[in-house]
């Protein structure tokens, strides 16, 4: 049976090998208190659950999507540790869309951050029930028994019983209250903090791992869809005669018209359905379509960027204020200002969006590489008018996500076509589709200005940002970044400043705007990281010293009393404060490990930057050589404080990946539009980092007892600035406009 098998609860019972026996444990939201233990087969809404079969196998459900971050290993290893299970007897079961799980939106670097404690509680609850069952079996006080190595032991008598022998009896018990649970202490962890190998390793290495694009059903049709080239453009006319003549083409179907707001709905277009993907693609090339004009048909990204850079040099809407930044700026002995820009970007995961759907007996069943099965369920139900209870969503492995697969439009397409044809339909996006019809990372401009006194102390700070908001995608009206977007490395500026003004400017949207790994932290991290380096240069400080001066004393920063509705990645500041000491710690660590203040070779330079995002802290140091107009990135160092770490090897691999992702976008990432159309189409004109451009990377994890922070995204924001700062220090120009490839050969 495939490791990425998705099962409903009923199927889960079969899968787990139950024959009316065994322990299943679940938690109802909200609060995650384990409330239910049942013998298999009884009804009941179970949630995150652990089951133990009489064969000793422990099945742990992973309700979050696997896209390379290792979550199908990480969350189960937390539960298994508290359970004191033998990892070799653990099997991971992928959860289907089910709101009873709580959020399944695998986005925002939240999986471990928000479910670490839950998984510990699940493991501890199951262990407690097994211990209780054993104590009753032996007629001894429960305080005399303990779990160890997949068994319950009574050391006084030397008795032991395997988990499987106790599972059925344990399932008859009431689960313990959360308050009664006992947890392992850190020193006793068997799996938490260990670099366990990913559970899908063997399947990946042998080509057996199943991604969304790999799913098949008997008699299914393969679809390729020609979509409107400009947002908002509808179809005027269609001639599909030649398309239908292609061998293997079965049908041509017009997709539904666009709705505004666009949300997660499907784009207008024409689908060609065939007996294989190639025939569908060939048929599609022979469609003759004319499209309407659209209000967005004049969008030109170059002139739009100019508009944004013009806007950010004038005062905008103040979102956070300390003292009187404008008076202080007037009184400053010296000032420095700069404007930074980042273009539109697209995700380009190796697996393009793909989904398979089947509509049978009024029930829609979907298999998709989705980061968000629940939004898939909801959007399909809404757009196609199917009751939500009749929409089942299986989650496959994801061949990369980076935020693209948080948007279920591709599953809606498959579902629509399955409903229209009555046959199973797999929609496969081509690379061109993925690059030209995505949800784009917003184009942006940032303006920073600092005023200094005669000692070089920064006495005033003004910063502005402008970019089309993701909110527009969902309301069709937003013309300014939201508080949530401004919370990503902008309104949460952690500097000790007597006078500060954080402002936004207007920016209307002309295409679907969405999340891309670390979201607005990309532009904000680039801008702040660059500007601090510029100040360091101007004031003749070591960059690290400049950062330390601006960060000021060790303290917890709270932007809320200063007028900003800071969202802190959905977590309370009490639990995850903005801690300048932790910022300084990773900064100092990376500076010392990398040796950024030591001498470098000719034409070489170090650049550093540090950024807090997703409640984690990451500092990056890059060393580059710039010679004859050509750039070589020689090495990168990354220090990360992500709080408590579950699987250090996977955290390291995420940081390595973040360095490469950040480097790729900073060096070469650029989507441009003319007349409303995306100009790029594939990896030749939307290049991404390749092995010869990939430097040696060194990752240092800070040991921490703090609650787990985000891991998948926080590595990205400091990369671009560390790179452009290094280029400047190596004798190159100060790059304020990404990507770097606009300025030199990369």
């Amino acid at each position: 049976m495939s490791r990425c098998q998705n099962v409903s609860r009923r199927e889960f019972l079969k899968f787990a090998g139950f024959a009316g026996s065994g322990l299943m444990l679940g938690a109802l939201v909200p609060g995650w208190r384990p409330v239910m233990a049942q013998t298999a087969g009884l009804p009941g809404e179970l949630n995150l659950f652990i089951s133990i079969g009489s064969d000793d196998r422990v099945h742990i459900v992973c309700h979050r999507s696997e896209m390379g971050q290792g979550i199908r290993t990480g969350l189960p290893q937390v539960a298994a540790d508290e359970l004191m299970a033998d990892w070799n007897k653990v099997r991971v079961v992928q959860g289907m869309a089910n709101e009873a799980y709580g959020s399944q939106n695998t986005d925002g670097s939240r999986s471990v951050r928000h479910f670490y404690q839950t998984m510990r509680e699940m493991g501890a609850s199951a262990r407690s029930m097994l211990e209780q069952a054993a104590a009753e079996r032996w007629q001894v006080p429960v305080s005399e028994v303990q779990a160890r190595d997949h068994q319950i032991w009574h050391d006084k008598s030397g008795c032991s019983l395997r988990f499987g022998q106790l599972a059925e009896a344990a399932a008859q018990l009431s689960p313990p209250d959360k308050e009664q649970l006992t947890f392992k202490s850190r020193k006793d962890f068997a799996y938490i903090g260990k670099g366990l190998k990913i559970v899908d390793m063997q399947a990946i290495l042998t080509g057996q791992a199943k991604f969304g694009i790999d799913m098949t059903l008997p008699d299914m049709l393969y679809a390729s869809i020609e979509r409107a080239p400009v947002l908002g453009a509808g179809l005027v006319s269609l001639d599909d005669k030649q398309a239908r003549e292609v061998k293997g083409v079965v049908d041509v179907i017009q997709m539904p018209a666009q709705t505004i707001p666009v949300g997660f709905t499907s784009l207008p277009g024409v689908a060609v359905l065939a007996t294989n993907t190639w025939a569908a693609m060939q048929g599609r090339k022979r469609l003759a379509i004319s499209w309407q004009d659209s209000a967005h048909g004049q969008h030109d990204s170059a002139s739009y960027l100019k508009t944004l850079t013009d806007r950010v040099v004038t005062k905008g809407r103040v979102i956070r204020s300390v003292g009187d930044a404008y008076s202080a700026m007037m009184n400053a002995v010296d000032t420095h200002s700069a404007t930074y820009t980042v273009p539109y970007l697209i995700h380009a995961p190796m697996e393009p969006p793909a989904a398979l759907a089947r509509f049978k007996d009024g029930e829609m069943e979907i298999w998709a590489c989705t980061q968000t099965p629940q939004a898939t369920q909801n959007t399909v139900a809404q757009q196609l008018g199917i009751d939500k209870s009749k929409v089942k969503v299986h989650v496959t492995l994801l061949g990369g996500g980076f935020g693209r697969k948080s948007k279920p439009d591709f599953s809606v397409e498959a579902a629509f076509l399955a409903k229209e044809t009555g046959k199973p339909v797999k929609v496969t996006w081509s690379r061109e589709d993925e690059i030209q019809h995505g949800f784009y990372h917003a184009i942006s401009a940032q303006y920073y200005e600092a005023g200094m006194d005669d000692t070089g102390r920064v006495t005033s700070w003004v910063q502005r940002t402008a970019f089309p908001s993701i909110s527009w995608t969902f309301n069709g009206t937003a013309e300014e970044p939201s508080d949530g977007e401004l919370s990503l490395g902008f309104g949460d500026l952690p500097f000790a400043l007597d006078n500060l003004s954080c402002e936004t400017q207007k920016a209307e949207a002309h295409l679907r705007i969405g999340w891309l790994r670390s979201v607005s932290n990309i532009q904000h991290g680039f801008a702040i990281g660059s500007f601090v380096d510029e100040l360091a240069h101007k004031l003749n400080r070591e960059p690290r010293q400049m950062w330390l001066e601006l960060l000021g004393s060790d303290r917890l920063v709270n932007p809320k009393p200063e007028g900003f509705e800071y969202t802190n990645y959905g977590d309370p500041l009490e639990q995850h404060p903005i801690d300048t000491a932790r910022l300084k710690k990773v900064l100092n660590l990376v500076a010392e490990k990398a040796g950024v203040e030591e001498s470098v070779g000719q034409h070489e330079g170090w650049g550093i930057s540090v950024h807090r995002s997703f409640v984690s802290y990451v500092a990056v140091a890059s060393r580059v050589r710039v010679k004859d107009g050509k750039l070589k990135v020689l090495e990168m160092h990354c220090a990360a404080d992500a709080g408590t770490v579950v699987n250090p090897d996977r955290v390291k691999s995420q940081m390595e990946g973040s360095m490469i992702f950040g480097l790729s976008l900073a060096l070469m990432g650029e989507i441009t539009l003319r007349e409303g159309k995306v100009q790029q189409s594939n990896y030749h004109d939307y290049p991404v980092l390749r092995m010869p451009q990939s430097p040696p990377i060194h990752v240092y994890l800070v040991e921490s007892d703090a609650p787990p922070g985000g891991v998948g995204e926080p590595g990205v924001p400091p990369v671009a600035a560390s790179l452009t700062n290094a280029i400047f220090r190596a004798g190159g120009k100060r790059i304020r406009e990404l990507p770097v490839s606009k300025h030199m050969e990369v």
Partner: protein, 154 residues
């Protein structure tokens, strides 16, 4: 009907002559280990061996492999026992895993041709294989480990 040998077994497929090998493998033969990434031989996700040479199956018409030996990831080592697969596991290379079949097939082809590749040999040979998760440093390390092991075996 076009006939070729796939992972040691003779197969024949009823496909248009210009259908790329990739789609023949995936859609007609249900061998989905070989991946689509770009359709233009730009990313290497579809890499297979044709008569021992690494080829991008997304741009290779199936007619070109008639009577030839095709090896895919499924034919490399079903128990992941190939030294390259073992080195991949040792270095915990995969993240999402999607590009890894192509990476592994390229690495095997490299090592069969050049058992002791230098860093620049590896860069040059592997630059056609994109990984968006950023596993390049570990791929490079794993290739060096596998080179040592394959060297011991010969």
């Amino acid at each position: 009907m076009i006939q070729f040998n796939l992972n040691g077994k003779d197969v024949s497929v009823d496909a248009e002559a210009d259908m790329p090998l990739l789609w023949v493998l995936r859609d007609l033969l249900d061998m989905t280990g070989t991946k689509y990434g770009c359709g233009m031989a730009l990313c290497g996700a579809c890499t297979v061996h044709v008569d021992g040479q690494a080829q991008r199956s997304c741009t290779m018409p199936v007619s070109q492999v008639a009577k030839k030996q095709v090896k895919t990831i499924e034919g490399l080592g079903v128990d992941a026992s190939h030294p390259v697969q073992q080195a991949w596991a040792q270095h915990d290379v995969p993240q999402c895993g999607y590009c890894q079949a192509g990476q592994i097939m390229s690495a095997v082809a490299l090592l069969e041709k050049n058992p002791k590749p230098t860093d620049s040999d590896i860069d040059e040979f592997m630059q056609g294989n994109i990984c968006r998760c950023g596993t390049y440093p570990r791929i490079k390390a794993a290739i060096k480990t596998a080179a040592g092991k394959m060297g011991e075996g010969s």
